[in-house]
């Protein structure tokens, strides 16, 4: 689902109950992360749930975009991941670094889910994606002749 469609649907929901059900549905529809990617290396530790995350630069695109896949053992967290992935979809490293995820989650009333003290893995996931984007950026700068 594209981010604007997602937001349009989400903002019609009247209370947390409906929003929660919506996130659960998003979570169920999240494209599966291949089983072999559920490794310790890809895990983002949370206190309450776990998130697995892979990031790669899609060089077939011009300019290259960041391809992100993720999964969690908790359905609601998977729903929140779906929101993140929609926000980051088909974005270049520069665009990713410029994306205001906090603002988006605040707009959705989900900012508490992103706090570092919540430790559901989501905050760590954003950190990891951003640092991947920053690394890709500095690598591409260096390779420019």
């Amino acid at each position: 689902m594209k981010l604007n469609e997602l937001l349009e649907e989400y903002e019609e929901l009247s209370d947390w109950g409906e929003q929660c059900d919506f996130l659960i549905d998003l979570g169920r529809d999240l494209p599966p992360l291949p089983e072999e990617d559920h490794t310790d290396c890809n895990i983002v530790h949370g206190c309450q749930s776990r998130v697995w995350l892979t990031t790669e630069l899609d060089a077939a695109m011009d300019p290259p975009t960041v391809k992100i896949q993720a999964d969690s053992d908790a359905l609601i967290v998977k729903g929140l991941i779906a929101v993140l992935l929609a926000a980051y979809a088909e974005k270049t490293p520069v665009d990713i670094l410029e994306t205001d995820i906090t603002g988006l989650f605040e707009r959705m009333g989900l900012h508490r889910q992103l706090s570092s003290s919540r430790r559901n893995g989501l905050y760590g996931m954003v950190e990891r994606i951003r640092s991947f984007a920053a690394r890709s950026l500095s690598a591409s700068v260096r390779t420019v002749p």
């Binding site: 947390w16 109950g17 929660c20 059900d21 659960i24 549905d25 169920r28 206190c47 309450q48 749930s49 776990r50 053992d73 908790a74 359905l75 609601i76 967290v77 559901n120």
Partner: protein, 422 residues
């Protein structure tokens, strides 16, 4: 015997007790009543405790042990009164054995680095368990690292009790400290502290009990069970946050070093050195959480008025009922021993439902539980799960609370089970 018990239970009116807790008497969104099942994290406060905090703040607040004016004198009396109540509650021989701390975690750290650092040498052993809260594990890890001591663990049985029969494998003349919880914050296991104390003392080891979970639920008698140190917090005991207690045997407190230095804890200060006041003042540097400590005295009064034994029996009765009802749910795993060996905590997982999702669904029904590793990562590693859901009971819980929990679990099944895709 059973008649006596039935009478006692009839006399305990959980609804009347609940009505003493303003926070529980609210009506939430959609007319839901709060079902508070997280007393193991922190208990709610009865009106008497809230009123006491208010009384102190509004009528006679001053710093303690400093002012000769009337407010200061009243504060001193109230604070020492609270200390005496705590001593009586634990059956301590003297109120000078009661040290106010910021909480159980602070207390355990103070014992580890005040007593442990002084007496634990390289090669000595510190004996603990894998069911400890991080607050009663990490300080000992740190101390062991600092002193080049060895951390050892009392083996657990498959149902999560200390294996007394194997205690001899790990307890010996090198054991300097035995640090164990009175009751597990995850499994609910009630540990055989009396036996541990007896056997540890045969080797001259110092027994430190983390009473954060046990003190609010089980009668603690520090003379009948002569543990060396006992640490607990006020906020799990229907008192305020920010205050806790170290009980210490007088000779142990006497030989313990302070780890916080400053006002009130000194006897005499010279430009280049100082001497210390006698316990408990030696361990109470700086301004105490005065209001909270006084209100903790009110919480003890409240508990004694209702009777900790009666509260305990009520909680155990709910626990048995809850356990039976939950065991009948499909995919249910309850961690820990059977009810006779545990206090009012049920940690569980339901196959196919992640604890975080479950907690969110229960919250939508105003059923407040805890989920996660409950600050016991090594225990969860041992159980082979990353997280559990925990229900912990208190004096104010009722059968209706259990009904609400079970109803909310059904709601979670409907919402989260794969077949229910809308």
């Amino acid at each position: 015997m059973s008649e006596v018990r039935a009478q006692d239970q009839a006399a305990y009116d959980a609804h009347a007790v609940r009505a003493e807790f303003p926070v529980l008497m609210q009506s939430l969104e959609k007319g839901l009543r709060p079902v508070y099942l997280d007393s193991g994290a922190s208990a709610q406060k009865p009106r008497a405790v809230i009123a006491k905090e208010r009384e102190v703040e509004e009528q006679y607040f001053a710093n303690a042990y400093r002012g000769r004016y009337s407010f200061g004198a009243r504060i001193d009396d109230e604070l020492e009164g609270a200390r005496t109540k705590i001593a009586e509650f634990l059956n301590a021989a003297s109120s000078s054995q009661i040290v106010f701390t910021p909480g159980a975690t602070a207390g355990l750290n103070m014992v580890a680095f005040g007593w442990g650092r002084r007496f634990v040498q390289a090669g000595d052993e510190i004996l603990t368990t894998l069911m400890e809260h991080h607050a009663n594990l990490v300080p000992w890890q740190q101390l062991a690292r600092e002193r080049q001591a060895i951390l050892r663990f009392i083996p657990l049985t498959s149902d999560g009790r200390l294996d007394s029969e194997r205690l001899g494998e790990v307890l010996n003349e090198r054991t300097k400290i035995v640090a164990v919880c009175g009751m597990s914050n995850v499994l609910g296991t009630v540990n055989p502290i009396a036996e541990l104390v007896r056997r540890a003392h045969q080797f001259g080891a110092c027994v430190v009990v983390d009473g954060a979970q046990s003190v609010p639920h089980l009668t603690t008698d520090v003379q009948q069970t002569p543990m060396d140190f006992l640490c607990f917090s006020g906020h799990k005991l229907y008192g305020p946050t920010g205050v806790g207690v170290i009980y210490g045997r007088s000779e142990r407190l006497e030989e313990m070093d302070p780890i916080l230095f400053g006002g009130h804890m000194i006897e005499r200060v010279w430009p280049d050195h100082s001497t210390w006041a006698a316990p408990p003042a030696r361990f109470e540097a700086g301004t105490l959480p005065i209001v909270q400590a006084i209100a903790l005295g009110a919480a003890i009064d409240w508990i004694r008025q209702h009777g900790l034994d009666r509260i305990h029996r009520h909680e155990q009765s709910l626990l048995r009922d809850l356990t039976t009802r939950m065991q009948s749910l499909p995919g249910m795993t309850i961690y820990g021993p059977d009810t006779p060996h545990k206090g009012a905590i049920v940690s569980f997982r339901i196959a196919g439902l992640h604890p975080e999702d479950l907690a969110a669904m229960l919250d939508r029904r105003a059923v407040f539980t805890r989920h996660g590793h409950h600050c016991t990562m090594p225990l969860h590693d041992l159980l082979g799960v990353s997280a559990t859901t925990r229900v912990s009971l208190g004096a104010y819980n009722t059968t209706e609370d259990l009904d609400a929990l079970l109803e909310a679990v059904q709601f979670a099944f409907q919402k989260l089970r794969p077949t229910q895709r809308a």
